[in-house]
């Protein structure tokens, strides 16, 4: 009991000391992460990373002598909550910029409020429509799903596989991917011969796969996040489905290999470079950031840094960059964010402009294949 009390007193004293020693008020950055709920696999590494990066920045003396402070809330993946919490960040916590939310649906939901209150938002979700059309106050770090789709289609075109089946999850991630898969098919001379969906909590997808087996498809593209695609990989193996299997960047983590086991062998995935950081040539501009992030995350959380955490790393660093260039108010941070050029982060090399608030090019993705429970870059 006394020990706990002492700890409490100590904590209070340190807080008071800390706030008096650093007279310049910290710069408050808001965070909206889906730490619980169905998108927790995104929100948790994102929150961990954002905290980690901001701690490191502060340890190194902050930005231009001022500390950064992260005010992070859990949206539980719910759009209503995300909007409420965005309001809280803006009205009560008076943050100058917001990092997050984690999912496309939540990001779309908070756009009206940040636009109205004029606070820059750096979303961590993949949906292309977050920044297309461009909204004045909204940026994003996660690679557009349009880029991932393009990367897969390029490969299919190269191998002359023109008849493709798609199987997408019926949540925000899947429906956004499905939209892109349909929209870009014609451009690469691809016909979608089968278009199916599955529920995020479904436990058996053999019915959909049986239907696909009966179609003319030459390749199957699955768009979803764990655990659905792992179940599909196992189901496909059970049915003896011989089609080349492509999946989305939503499963490009070791977790997927662990869940799908042997069934993961040979699956190809467009992925951010973080999972293959050590395989990259030394000349790659992202290599330095990638190695730093992977090592840091390993030290702090005893787990492999994935590209979800990477989105938060990029977002915090982009805001930090804006502050470094002299911006302190929300409006100035927004203007400086838009001027970001050639920042090599985890997701890719960012160059924002008034026409592009997503900032990444096709080089953000590499195509990897799973071989012997590890990643290999497909040339």
């Amino acid at each position: 009991m006394y020990v706990r009390l002492a700890a409490l007193v100590a904590a209070c004293v340190t807080t008071i000391l800390a706030s008096t020693v650093f007279a310049a008020a910290p710069i408050k950055i808001g965070g909206l992460f889906a730490v619980t709920g169905p998108a927790a696999f995104l929100g948790e590494p994102e929150r961990n990373t954002a905290k980690m990066v901001i701690d490191e920045i502060n340890k190194a003396g902050g930005v231009k002598g001022r500390k950064l402070e992260l005010v992070a809330y859990d949206t539980a993946g719910d759009a209503t909550k995300a909007v409420q919490l965005a309001t809280k960040l803006i009205k009560d916590d008076k943050v100058v910029a917001i990092v997050g939310p984690s999912t496309t649906g939540e990001s779309m939901a908070v756009i009206p409020i940040v636009e109205k209150e004029q606070i820059p938002l750096v979303a961590l979700a993949a949906g292309s429509k977050i920044t297309d059309p461009v909204k004045k106050w909204v940026f994003k770090t996660a690679q557009n799903d349009a880029l991932a789709v393009g990367r897969i289609y390029e490969q299919l075109q190269k191998q002359k596989l023109a008849k493709v089946a798609i199987l997408t999850v019926s949540d925000g991630f899947g429906s956004s991917g499905r939209e892109q898969l349909k929209a870009q098919a014609a451009k690469y001379g691809i016909t979608l011969v089968s278009d199916d969906t599955y529920g995020p909590k479904d436990t058996d997808m053999t019915a959909q796969l049986t239907k696909i087996r009966g179609s003319q498809a030459q390749a199957l593209i699955v768009w979803g996040t764990n655990p659905g695609p792992a179940v599909i990989a196992k189901n496909a193996r059970q049915l003896g489905l011989k089609l080349p299997l492509y999946m989305s960047h939503g499963v490009s983590s070791k977790k997927f290999i662990e869940l799908a086991g042997d069934a993961a062998e040979g699956i190809r995935i467009p992925s951010g470079k973080v999972i293959v950081a050590d395989l990259l040539p030394a000349s790659d501009p992202q290599r330095k950031s990638l190695m730093a992030f992977v090592k840091d995350y390993q030290n702090h959380h005893k787990a492999e840094g994935d590209h979800f955490g990477g989105h938060a790393w990029d977002a915090v660093m982009l805001v930090k960059g804006a502050v470094e260039r002299g911006a302190e108010t929300p409006a100035a941070i927004r203007d400086q964010l838009e001027k970001t050029k050639g920042f090599s982060g985890i997701g890719g090399t960012f160059t924002y402009s008034s026409q592009d608030h997503a900032g990444l090019g096709k080089d953000a993705f590499v195509l990897v294949e799973i071989k012997n429970k590890d990643w290999v870059i497909v040339k």
Binding site: T36, D196, T203, K211, R237
Partner: protein
Amino acid sequence: MQFDQLLQYAVSGLSTGAIYALIGIGFSIIYNATGIINFAQGEFVMLGGLFTLTFLDLLKLPVWAAVPCAVAASTLAGLVFERLAIRPLRQPTPINLVIITIGGSILIRGLAMLFWGKDTHSIPSFSGDDPIAIGGATILPQHLWILGITMVIVAANRFYFYHTISGKAMRACSYNPRAAGLVGIDVRRMVLFSFVISSAMGAVAGIIVAPLTMTAYDVGIMLGLKGFCAAIIGGMSSGIATVVGGLILGVLESLGAGLVSSGYKDAIAFIILLLLLFLRPQGLFGKRESERV
């Protein structure tokens, strides 16, 4: 080809349906003994899977030892749940019971999230992953385990409820608890017993599906819901009717996904269920009863 497909839909539907059935029977047992719809039933399914994982990974037990340990641990959780949540209730109206089991399910899920984290986990199949061909369709050895264990449990239930004193006593409680009390049956003990049996069954269901469906702290919600539906179609029976209910639900989903639309498969299953209920408001297998005033 067409026939092969149909066969595969049916086989897939049956194997998913068997899971729903097993969870559904858990609902029915408690309902019959106590009149409670236990919304926390799905959480025991989750506990079964995750406890198995713990015993396999942390304590390095072999599967044959980890499974009974996991069932025992989940059963203990069910026992504690009855003692802490159901028994202290001073006004056990049906609606209060619904709320308290909902509260319980949230609590258990929250604790599981803190204990096991938010990640999805997989546990290895009991006997390999090599597909078995049946006609043009294929299933996994795990599916056979599921079907087999479901049948064993249904048979064991039948034996327990009709051929043992304790089972007969529990049935007496479901017909008329007060009369059962008058003839010397300890009704509260029977309530506790029903929770023990159904949490054990939930855990078994959770363990045998985990190799196929993976497991995580939040799998209980959806599986619980589906199991609940199976139990209702079966008229809340703790026997073969609920199994049929689960199988019907599974096959409807599978056929709906394969033949009509995968996006609407759950809706199709529910629309058919609603129509069935509209035509037979007393449940699929229930007899029409005149209401006592």
